[in-house]
Amino acid sequence: MSIPADLKYTPSHEWVRVEADGTLTVGITHHAQDLLGDMVFIENPAAGRTLAKGEECAVVESVKAASDVYAPVAGEVIAANGDVEASPESVNKDAYAAWMFKIKPANADDVNELLDAAAYQKLVESEAH
């Protein structure tokens, strides 16, 4: 199971990378894409949209099912990745390279509430039973 140590995670299976300038890059985890299977459609939030923490803001659909993606923290969308919308299968190939959108957090400290790799690993293991 691939869970990079340098990323943060949410219980709803998003990964978050804290960039040097304090902005956040968001995608879905390897575990999430594995559960969903072959991706066929992705819809990202528009740049400029303001998100509340936990708000449904993107959709990933596999052949099997549709799944919502939630905002890991409150903030403003500053970029959305058109490449993953054009090639949804890139999420299956490398979930951590296929980022979906970037957020400028409303409050920089909010990232501290996210799970670290060890805590996320535990969560994934507990869901497997």
Binding site: G37, D38, V40, F41, E43, E61, V63, A66, N92
Partner: protein
């Protein structure tokens, strides 16, 4: 405790992702569902369909029994091995199950029923057997496993895996079956491709499966089975029809025989009720994925998607939908997906047959 087919350990060894499918622990894929889908359209795929139940009905009155029990007419079956697809209806004209009936001889017919409905079907048939005083013996054949071999290379793979079967596969026509020793070989399937469904003794199934893989067959999970059957425009029980829907509003009028005087369960209800809806194909014109239960808006009122998916062959989303009559192929409708209304085109299905897109 989930039920297991005779090939359960084989799926585990192959690294299948297993899911609870109507109480059965079944492979949903062995890696990529889309790759498996393409394998069946271009090569040869193997499906474990042992969760479905073969049921032998024997006795002097078996033909008379089936004439009353099902909506299609078993008198179409006169040659041993010939198969018939039919619905079994309740008194209200709703579909209890859809099934395949094989004519073996005048005292023996073999049925194959869906996994999720098997117990209900058996109870219904036993009740009718008793009510009508038919004196038949119904034997569920859980001692058999069933493997579907599907795709343009299916014949080649089966011939290679099973020495001597080439004499049968060379002459077996679609929707016919033949016995070979303990095995039962039917030229049937649920993919829109050429292929076979083979029943073997449960204990022989793992060996047979491995021989088929050595002959070039690739294991295919239930995920791809669903996208393949939807492209082929084949109904799925519980989604496209059930006990509350009429076969005449489920795209199954061709399987209901109303031409003969034969009195079958559900006939009165079908003849006295008005048909106001139709099952039709949809192709999504906007981006997104059609899914079951999404609402469809037409100029004649609302309808609903019964099965929807992303079509790996067509690279766009397709669906079956139950909508009001009077909407013709080529017309546009709107489908509600989350908070949006997306454009879809009504089409005549099947969408794909024998590897070719028909839309």
């Amino acid at each position: 405790m989930l039920k297991q087919t005779p090939l359960h350990a084989t799926h585990r060894e192959l690294g299948a992702k297993m899911v609870d499918f109507g109480g059965w622990d079944m492979p949903v894929n062995y890696g990529s569902q889309i790759a498996e889908h393409h394998t069946v359209r271009s090569g040869c795929g193997l499906f474990d369909v042992s969760h479905m139940l073969p049921l032998d009905i024997k006795g002097a009155n078996v033909r008379a029994f089936l004439r009353q029990l099902v909506a299609n007419n078993v008198d179409k079956l006169q040659v041993s091995g010939k198969a018939l697809y039919s619905c079994m209806l309740n008194e209200a004209g709703g579909v209890i199950d859809d099934l395949i009936i094989y004519f073996m001889d005048e005292t023996w017919f073999r049925l194959v029923v869906n996994a999720g409905t098997a117990e209900k079907d058996l109870a219904w048939m036993e009740k009718m057997n008793a009510d009508w005083g038919m004196g038949l013996t119904l034997t569920p054949r859980r001692d058999l496993a069933m493997i579907a071999i599907q795709g343009p290379n299916a014949t080649q793979a089966l011939n290679e895996a099973l020495p001597g079967v080439d004499q049968i596969t060379a002459s077996l026509k679609p929707f016919n079956a033949a016995a070979m020793g303990e095995m039962f070989i039917a030229r049937t399937g649920y993919t829109g491709e050429d292929g076979f469904e083979v029943m073997v003794l449960a204990k022989s199934a793992p060996f047979f499966w491995k021989a088929l893989m050595e002959a070039g067959g690739k294991p295919i999970g239930l995920g791809a089975r669903d996208t393949l059957r939807l492209e082929a425009g084949m109904n799925l029980y519980g989604q496209d029809m059930d006990e509350t829907t009429s076969p005449l509003e489920s795209g199954l009028a061709w399987t209901v025989d109303l031409k003969t005087e034969r009195d079958f369960v559900g006939r009165k209800a079908l003849e006295s009720s008005e048909v106001t809806r139709q099952l039709t194909g949809l192709v999504l014109l906007d981006k997104g994925v059609l899914r079951s239960h999404q609402k469809v808006h037409t100029k004649n009122g609302e309808g609903e998607i019964t099965s929807g998916t992303f079509s790996p062959t067509m690279q766009q989303s397709i669906a079956l939908a139950r909508i009001p009559l009077g909407i013709a192929p080529g017309e546009e409708v709107e489908v509600e997906i989350r908070d949006k209304k997306l454009k879809a085109k009504v089409v005549k299905y099947p969408f794909v047959r024998n590897g070719k897109v028909l839309i």
